[in-house]
């Protein structure tokens, strides 16, 4: 079943129709094989880039689509529904452009942003380190000023697209002033001294490469520092509010795919002489899955519409990420249940969906951190 959407404009409807066509004809048919073989689909991103889907929420004057988050996120959801690794990749790319687009100088934006949004380039976001996950302020990678450059040394961890990315939006320490000693850099992917480690052997999203990023005396021009020295963490965290909405949309897309698969199977699988969808035990399971998908979508769209209107949305974004990813975990688990033994095999996609869902509760801020953000906002109110 195609997700029913309310979209604000006719161009948004045309955009979603285009994304669905590409998702159906170009992404979905390749997903299972790439995930099985653990091959990063760089070409898929090139196609999406050419189509303009890697710069949707950014201003037209830099080559973006200037679409509200309400529209961008629904397009992203359609991509993730066909292929979660690619959906997450689009979300990562969009987030990696955020710092420059929102905090760069005009000169920096004119110089680099159009190429980043035009589609040939793929970005990555490098905040986490082995000892700095939820406690991002504990990061230890150093950036030491040396003339017109900074010299970067250290190891970033859990970097999506590591080794494939053309640029990294990377947070590194420029002083020992704790959370206020971190700065943000736009690091070219071919910087000497920058290398990617061996890909992590993950449970899911196996088509998306995740690896450590090693920096050994990597020289980055001071012109590539985004924002002032010491602003890096604030800047990284503000982009996370938007990034969380991306992950929420991806999670809903994944849950929708699992629901669709479960409904289709329940209609054609017969036991005791009837399609199993006619048994109330299954019917109620499927109804709960559909309710979880619909409510998760409504939750992220509410946060997106607040963002589009310039209203504060930090709490709503954390709520959307929490609700949508928990929904994805539940719906994908139940989809395996609907397919029974078949669902537990790799001949059907639902066991992969389940494995892919798990990480959404972990990355872009664990769901425990989302609760912390929500509670902090409550305290502040």
């Amino acid at each position: 079943m195609v997700a029913e959407r309310t979209l604000p404009t006719s161009e948004a409807e045309d955009l979603i129709a285009l994304v669905r066509e590409i998702a159906r004809d170009e992404l979905a048919p390749k997903a299972a094989e790439h995930e099985e073989r653990e091959v990063f689909p760089r070409d898929a991103f090139r196609l999406l880039g050419r189509t303009g889907l890697l710069g949707l929420p950014y201003p037209e004057r830099f080559g973006g689509g200037e679409q509200p988050y309400e529209v961008y996120l629904q397009a992203l959801e359609e991509v993730a529904s066909a292929w979660m690794s690619v959906g997450v990749g689009v979300s990562v790319h969009v987030m990696s452009c955020y710092a420059l687009a929102n905090h760069g100088t005009d000169e920096q934006r004119d110089r680099w942003l159009p190429d980043m949004l035009a589609g040939d380039l793929l970005g990555a976001y490098a905040l986490s380190e082995v000892q700095a996950g939820s406690d991002a302020a504990a990061l230890a990678t150093r950036a030491v000023r040396d003339g017109a450059d900074y010299v970067l040394t250290g190891t970033k961890a859990w970097i999506s697209h590591a080794g494939h990315a053309d640029f990294y939006t990377l947070m590194a320490r420029t002083s020992d002033a704790g959370a206020r000693g971190i700065s943000c850099f736009l690091v070219p992917g071919d910087t000497p001294g920058l290398t990617a480690g061996a890909p992590e052997r993950k449970m899911g999203l196996t088509g998306s490469t995740t690896a450590q990023l090693h920096l050994t005396d990597a020289r980055v021009s001071a012109q590539r520092r985004i924002g002032a020295e010491g602003q890096g963490l604030a800047l990284a965290l503000s982009s996370l509010d938007s990034g969380r909405l991306g992950i929420a949309a991806c999670a809903v897309g994944l849950a929708q795919a699992a629901l669709d698969e479960a409904v289709a199977y329940a209609k054609q699988r017969t036991q005791f002489g009837r399609p199993i969808i006619d048994f109330q035990g299954l019917e109620f399971l499927l109804a709960d899955m559909a309710a979880a998908v619909d409510s998760a979508r409504a939750t992220y769209l509410d946060a997106a519409r607040r963002r589009d209107r310039g209203l504060p949305f930090r709490r709503q974004a954390a709520t959307a990420k929490l609700i949508a990813t928990d929904a994805a975990m539940k719906v994908t688990t139940d989809a395996v249940q609907v397919l029974g033994g078949a669902g537990y095999t790799r001949d059907f996609p639902v066991e992969r969906y389940l494995r892919e869902a798990k990480v959404t509760q972990i990355f872009e801020g664990t769901n425990q951190i989302q609760r912390l953000v929500i509670a902090r906002e409550l305290r502040r109110a």
Binding site: S10, E11, D14, L15, L18, E21, I22, L47, R50, T51, G52, L53, L56, G65
Partner: protein
């Protein structure tokens, strides 16, 4: 080079397609409608020729109001403008009437060097409109093209047949119909979607083209569908037990079905 490319809105081959109970014409409400894939290839070929030789691409469509979706898709892909003939009187038109209307509509466009069509629509599947249109326009017809080359005012196409590859050549202006092997159509870009909103679409009626509304449509058709039945549901098939002679049994089955 000014190119006119014919586009048609057809029911999506992914959805179930039906004829209406009353007059056996296409039940347009029963299925999602899309620009016919063969037309996407025709548009792609037109755009490639334009990119190589300059000029302008005009998408031409005959179909009900909602067929503007097919026109818009062509504009999103990169066509420059469009002509859409929409008239309730055209409901049920046969291939001859359709070609007559198309011929008149091509006549409204100045300096046409080339008309490109798909070789056969995925709904009616008559595959006759390009040839009839060429006759009506007095243009050489180079149909079922797998490859199109234009040099100066000479157009050459390759047509693959069971007996080998035919090379057809003519002087422009001409009409080409393309096969599904000719190219891989591009996707529109989001910029294309936005740009298409500003591209002109001229909407014409039968009367605008100087044709008599009474002479078109179902009543003016030379052909009539007398009866239609849905295709029978797929049966379970036949299971062949392979006791070392599986290949022979499959061959016997295929011979029985006159497939080999």
């Amino acid at each position: 080079m000014n190119i006119v490319v014919l586009v048609k809105l057809v029911p999506d081959t992914y959805s179930e397609r039906k004829l209406s109970d009353t007059d056996h014409t296409l039940d347009r409400d029963s299925a999602d409608a899309v620009l016919d894939e063969i037309n996407e290839r025709a548009v792609e070929e037109a755009l490639q020729l334009k990119e190589a030789h300059g000029g302008e691409v005009t998408a031409l469509c005959v179909g009900p109001d909602r067929a503007v979706d097919a026109v818009r898709k062509a504009l999103q892909m990169g066509a420059d403008k469009a002509v859409h003939v929409s008239d309730a009187a055209l409901h049920g038109s046969d291939v001859i009437t359709t070609a007559k209307v198309l011929a008149k509509a091509v006549g409204t466009i100045d300096g046409v060097d080339l008309v490109i069509a798909g070789n056969e629509a995925s709904d009616g599947r008559a595959g006759a409109v390009p040839a009839i249109l060429a006759e009506l326009l007095g243009l050489p017809q180079l149909t079922h093209a797998n490859k199109v080359t234009v040099e100066g005012d000479t157009i050459t196409v390759e047509r693959a047949t069971d007996d080998g590859v035919l090379h057809l050549q003519a002087t422009l202006p001409a009409l080409v119909s393309v096969s599904e092997k000719i190219n891989e159509p591009r996707y529109p870009s989001f910029k294309g979607i936005m740009a298409a909103k500003k591209k002109p679409i001229t909407t014409l009626t039968v009367a605008d083209l100087g044709l008599d509304p009474a002479g078109v449509g179902l009543s003016g058709a030379w052909t009539a569908v007398l009866e239609a039945a849905p295709k029978p549901p797929r049966t379970a098939g036949e299971r062949v037990e392979d006791n070392g002679d599986g290949g022979t049994k499959i061959a016997e089955y295929l011979v029985g079905q006159k497939l080999i």
